[in-house]
C-alpha cells in the first residue's frame, strides 16, 4: 500500500527561506534510509506558493476561476511530499515519525495520507487474513 507523507508549508517555506544545512543533511539521511529499505517511490519539495496558480470552480459546470499565488493560510499549503510503498499503516506511521521535523520553530506538520489502490478492493479478504496472521505471529513471539 502506498502512503503520501505531505509536508505542510510554514511561514519560512512560504517566504522562500531555504532550510538549514543541518535539516538538509538530516533529510538526506532519512531519504537514504527510505531508499535502502526499498520503500521510497518519489519525493519532492515544492516552491513557495508565490509561484502557484489556484484553479477553482465556484459554479458547478461553470468556468474555472484562476487565482495567482501567494496564498495565505500556510497550514493548508503543501511544501513537499514523499511517496512510499509499505506493507501496513503502522509501517507508514513509523516512517513518518522518523522524518525530521520539516521546518522546526514549532510549525512543522506532516500529514499522512493513503493512496487509493484498485487491488486493495480486490484483495481485501487476503489482506485481512494476512493482518490476522501477523497479529497471531506477534502474539506467539510474545509468548515464547
Amino acid at each position: 500500500m502506498r502512503f503520501m507523507m505531505i509536508v505542510k508549508a510554514t511561514t519560512d517555506s512560504e517566504a522562500g527561506v531555504m532550510p538549514s544545512q543541518e535539516l538538509i543533511d538530516a533529510m538526506q539521511k532519512y531519504n537514504e534510509e527510505l531508499v535502502k529499505a526499498g520503500v521510497l517511490l518519489a519525493a519532492d519539495g515544492l516552491q513557495p506558493s508565490t509561484n502557484a496558480i489556484r484553479i477553482s470552480y465556484p459554479e458547478p459546470g461553470g468556468k474555472p476561476k484562476m487565482m495567482d499565488g501567494p496564498f495565505t493560510e500556510a497550514k493548508e499549503i503543501i511544501a513537499g511530499y514523499t511517496l512510499i510503498e509499505v506493507k501496513s499503516r503502522e509501517e507508514a506511521i513509523e516512517w513518518a515519525l522518523r522524518m525530521p521535523d520539516p521546518h522546526g520553530f514549532g510549525q512543522g506538520e506532516i500529514e499522512l495520507r493513503q493512496v487509493f489502490e484498485v487491488e486493495d478492493l480486490m484483495e481485501n479478504t487476503e489482506t485481512l487474513a494476512k493482518e490476522t496472521a501477523l497479529r497471531k505471529q506477534v502474539h506467539e513471539q510474545h509468548k515464547s
Binding site: 531508499v35 535502502k36 518519489a42 501496513s88 509501517e91 487474513a129 497479529r135 505471529q137
Partner: protein, 421 residues
C-alpha cells in the same frame, strides 16, 4: 496506545529493521540461523519492555544494541569462544579491505548485500533460496510465504530450517564474492528476485492469477539491491523490468479475477509513476554500458509497450529487433516464441506463423501451453479457424492455471460462434 495497536507497530518496526539486524548480527556470529534467533530474542525483549516504556525514539538502534549484547553474551558462553574470536578477528580484517567492491556504501549496505548473496547462494535449491530470502530479507512469516506459494506452512518452515543448516554445514561465508565470481553470483541473486516477482505476477498454478505480496517484496528487494550496487547494469535492468511490469498489475485481471491480455488492457489504468520509475532505471542501465543484458533487454521491450498509447501505436519493429538481441544474449525457445509474436505484429501473422510452425516440432516445448495458444492466435488471424480452435483447446488442456484455462476455452468457443454466423 492499545496493546494490539502497539503490537502492530512493533511488528511494522520488525519488518523495517529485521533484515538490517540479521545482517549485522550475521557479521558478528557468522551463522545466519543464530543471527535470526538473536534478532528474534531482541524483538521479544522489545515487546515486553516497550509495552511499559513506550517505543523508543530510535527503535532500530535499540534492537541492534540489545541483540548485539545478546550476541556477545552468546559468544562468551560458547564453548567455541576462542575459535569464534579468531574467526571474527579474521573476518573483520578480511572485510575492511576495500577490494571486494568499491561501489559499496556504508556498513549496513555492505551487510545487507552480504546477506542477499548468502540467502541466494547456489548451494541452496531455488525454492530454498526464495524462501530464505523472503524470510530473512523481507521479514515475511513462514505462514505468509506458504500462502504466497500455495504450499503447506510446515513445508516452508522445513525448507528454511534446512537451508540455514546447509549454509552452516557448507560453511558458506558471509561475504560479497570477489569480482570474477561476483558476476555469476549476481545473476543467481537477480534470478531469485525475478522468480519471486514472476511467481507473484503470473502464478503458475492455483486460482489466483496474481499475488501482489510477492511482486511488492521482489520490487522492494530489487530497489534495495540497485541502491547498494549502483554500478551493476543488470540490477537496474531487472528493477526497470519489474517496475514496468508492476505498472500493469491492476489491469491484468478483471473484477471476476479473469486474466486480461496485454493488448486488451486499459492503458489509462497503467501506473504512470511505476512506468516513469521503470524508464528511469532502464536509462541508468543504458548509461552503464552499450550492450544490454537479458533483463535490460526485456525491460526495453516492456518499455516499448509502456510508452505506446495503444496497440496500434506500439513500435513492433523495435520490439522484434529487441527480441532478436535477446535471442542472441540468451537463446531460448521461449524467447523465440515471443519473437514470433513480435514479428507477426510488425510484419504480419504469416511471418510469425512460420517461426511458430518450426517451434511446433520442438520436443522440449510439447508441454508448454503458450505455444499452442500463440499458434492458435496466429492461425485465427490468417483465417484457419478450425486449426486455431484445436490449438486453443490443446493449450487449455495443458495449463494448470484455472483462470487461464477458462480464457482459452472461451477463445476456442468464440471461433465456433464466428464460423456459424
Amino acid at each position: 496506545m492499545s496493546s494490539s495497536q502497539a503490537h502492530r507497530t512493533i511488528d511494522a518496526i520488525w519488518r523495517m529493521e529485521s533484515a538490517k539486524l540479521i545482517a549485522g548480527l550475521t557479521r558478528m556470529v557468522r551463522d545466519v540461523g543464530l543471527a535470526e534467533d538473536l534478532a528474534q530474542d531482541a524483538l521479544v525483549i522489545a515487546l515486553e519492555r516497550w509495552a511499559e516504556t513506550g517505543i523508543p525514539d530510535n527503535p532500530g538502534a535499540w534492537l541492534m544494541t540489545t541483540a548485539k549484547r545478546r550476541a556477545i553474551d552468546f559468544i562468551r558462553r560458547s564453548k567455541l569462544r576462542d575459535q569464534k574470536y579468531v574467526e571474527i578477528g579474521h573476518s573483520i580484517n578480511l572485510y575492511t579491505e576495500d577490494d571486494v567492491d568499491q561501489t559499496l556504501d556504508g556498513e549496513i549496505g555492505d551487510d545487507l548485500l552480504r546477506l542477499i548473496f548468502m540467502t541466494c547462494h547456489p548451494v541452496l535449491s531455488q525454492d530454498a533460496r526464495v524462501a530464505l530470502t523472503l524470510r530473512l530479507l523481507c521479514g515475511l512469516t513462514t505462514d505468509e510465504i506458504a500462502r504466497s506459494f500455495l504450499v503447506a506452512e510446515s513445508t516452508v518452515a522445513q525448507r528454511i530450517v534446512r537451508a540455514k543448516r546447509t549454509l552452516s554445514a557448507e560453511k558458506i561465508p558471509f561475504e560479497v564474492p570477489a569480482r570474477e565470481e561476483m558476476k555469476d553470483r549476481m545473476s543467481a541473486v537477480l534470478e531469485v528476485i525475478y522468480l519471486m516477482f514472476n511467481e507473484g505476477y503470473s502464478a503458475t498454478s492455483g486460482d489466483h492469477w496474481i499475488r501482489p505480496l510477492l511482486c511488492q517484496e521482489a520490487l522492494r528487494l530489487g530497489r534495495i539491491l540497485a541502491e547498494i550496487t549502483p554500478h551493476e547494469q543488470e540490477v537496474h535492468g531487472l528493477v526497470a523490468l519489474m517496475e514496468i511490469q508492476a505498472s500493469r498489475l491492476k489491469t491484468r485481471v478483471n473484477a471476476k479475477g479473469e486474466p486480461i491480455l496485454l493488448m486488451d488492457q486499459n492503458r489509462a489504468k497503467w501506473d504512470q509513476l511505476l512506468i516513469h520509475r521503470g524508464l528511469a532505471a532502464l536509462d541508468r542501465s543504458r548509461k552503464l554500458g552499450q550492450t544490454l543484458g537479458p533483463y535490460s533487454l526485456q525491460a526495453a521491450i516492456s518499455a516499448c509497450h509502456a510508452k505506446a498509447r495503444s496497440e496500434a501505436e506500439t513500435d513492433w519493429i523495435r520490439i522484434a529487433a529487441l527480441y532478436e538481441a535477446l535471442a542472441r544474449a540468451t537463446p531460448s525457445l521461449i524467447v523465440e516464441l515471443n519473437r514470433a509474436v513480435a514479428i507477426s505484429m510488425a510484419f504480419g501473422p504469416a511471418f510469425g506463423l512460420q517461426i511458430v510452425d518450426e517451434l511446433n516440432i520442438e520436443p522440449s516445448l510439447q508441454g508448454y501451453h503458450l505455444l499452442p495458444s500463440v499458434r492458435g492466435d496466429l492461425l485465427a488471424k490468417v483465417g484457419r479457424h478450425d486449426e486455431a480452435r484445436t490449438e486453443f483447446e490443446r493449450a487449455a488442456s495443458m495449463t494448470q492455471n484455472t483462470r487461464e484455462r477458462e480464457l482459452l476455452f472461451q477463445r476456442a468457443a468464440n471461433l465456433r460462434v464466428d464460423r456459424s454466423t
